[in-house]
Symmetry: C2
Subunit: 297 residues, 2 copies
């Protein structure tokens, strides 16, 4: 069990730090709240934690936003609006004296899933994160595919209806407008499922208890998801598609309808080939993927 | 100008044979009609032609259909229904004594476009063929991306409306149902543009002459196309997207609206980066790409 790889998943509400070997065996795991809006205090706090980790070989940082992964700079993050052009690589390399990489969190999740769910055998793999927003990361031939300027993998922004609802990104009818958190709430409204402080988790609970309207909401989510995933199967002909993120915890309410619809929406050979699963490492995939990526560079 | 590469594009109505160097300078070009439904006579005819070509280094064959590119077998072609499990690689290697590869025609076009339009500098490139059907081929990091079972690149079968018109593939609302030949005819019907023996070429001619209805048909085509291409920009973040195929000859009627809509449908950074053009080698891209691919293997 070689390697002391640190993976750090910096989110808007909490920061997850893990110490893993190259096979994903976690030796240590720390969670700290994102207490400040500004990077200074938070980064100092992370370094303090890392100093207690003993020997470290490399650091990988996963974070949502616009990343210059070549230079390890976070240009902008939607979850941490005060973090602008933060030189994360430079900061950690100077404080911790080990190679550091910075990568989009969805890309980290994809790479983590490639190693853990796919055991590095499923060379062409897409991980879709289902949460407030819909993200994605793409592995091609066992390597993270970043695209030409580092923004590849935005599977939440596949247009599934040119005249659909307005998306935050400016487009209409993105997959995210249908099955992101807001999209799910819109479906709930449409089918007449009303409740105070409604969340996708509450809808899922009700669906499991047998509430038909709640169930129909997840059926609809699964159908829209199939439209997006079907396109990915036809375009990429991948070995594996995995799901992570909070909403993927409702895989039991999604899988059946998703796979039924995919039979209609995709070509036979690629569908028969591709393995479609919920990631079994949902909670720390971003941090673990970041750790693995720190070793790949 | 080294290399004597043969590229053969086998279509349902004609077969194009070219002799090219590795830079795409064409030394010889022969077109023969696809006179028989069966492979035997046609393949014999091709070999007779090739015997007049002088020294040949390698052969690449591009053909529409389900290809086992590893073994060089055409399993099935929609344009040549009597061709089933034809061992093209084995046949040409035994008759011509040079290495032969067989590849899907849309993949060949993409590789041809990568070399000729992109001059091997645009490493991530997608070529979309606009014709009776809508096809595509993907170049990742300068290499043809075939997918895990060889069927990647089916960009005509991106779902742009889950409840859209029925597609030949069994799905509803594929991009192809909107902007394939049949899709264009449907738009013509909807806008009330009627003519005997109407074709996309006739509509284009009328549009160029100022006919408003004809123009509105191509505007609509461009809008649907933007929905599909926008998704590709967001997913792939490519360096270049090129268009080939008969309908791409109407680029003058497509480009403006397509690019206008892409501004709405895509993220800013990848759109600013990607070069979107009509291939300048529209007519023999499949044959040339096949020739180039024969050298890459």
């Amino acid at each position: 069990m070689s390697g002391n790889l640190v993976g750090i998943d910096i989110g808007g509400t909490k920061i997850l730090i893990i110490l893993s070997d190259i096979n994903g065996h976690i030796k240590k795991q720390v969670e700290i709240p994102t207490t400040s809006e500004y990077p200074g205090a938070i980064l100092g706090r992370i370094v303090l934690e890392l100093k207690t980790f003993g020997k470290i070989d490399s650091i990988g940082i996963g974070i949502a936003g616009d990343i210059d992964s070549k230079n390890g700079i976070l240009r902008f993050s939607p979850n941490l609006l005060k973090w602008k052009n933060v030189r994360l690589k430079k900061y950690f390399e100077s404080k911790m004296k080990v190679p550091t990489i910075v990568e989009n969190d969805a890309n980290c999740a994809a790479y983590g899933s490639y190693v853990l769910d796919g055991e590095r055998k499923y060379k062409n793999l897409i991980t879709i994160t289902l949460g407030t927003g819909i993200g994605g990361g793409i592995i091609i031939d066992g390597k993270l595919y970043r695209g030409s300027t580092g923004t590849a993998g935005e599977v939440g922004h596949i247009t599934i209806n040119p005249d659909g609802p307005k998306c935050n990104c400016g487009n209409n009818g993105c997959l995210e407008t249908y099955i992101g958190k807001k999209g799910i709430m819109n479906i709930a409204k449409k089918v007449g499922f009303h409740k105070k402080n409604l969340t996708p988790a509450i809808i899922a609970d009700e669906a499991r208890k047998g509430n038909k309207k709640a169930k129909s909401i997840f059926n609809k989510v699964s159908e829209y998801l199939a439209a997006g995933v079907g396109s990915l199967v036809n375009i990429f002909n991948p070995d594996m598609i995995t799901f992570s993120g909070g909403i993927s915890n409702n895989w039991d309410l999604i899988e059946k309808i998703l796979k039924r619809d995919l039979k209609k929406r995709t070509f036979k050979t690629p569908l028969e080939h591709v393995k479609i699963i919920k990631s079994s490492n949902n909670k720390n995939l971003g941090a673990i993927g970041a750790a693995f990526l720190s070793k790949e560079r």
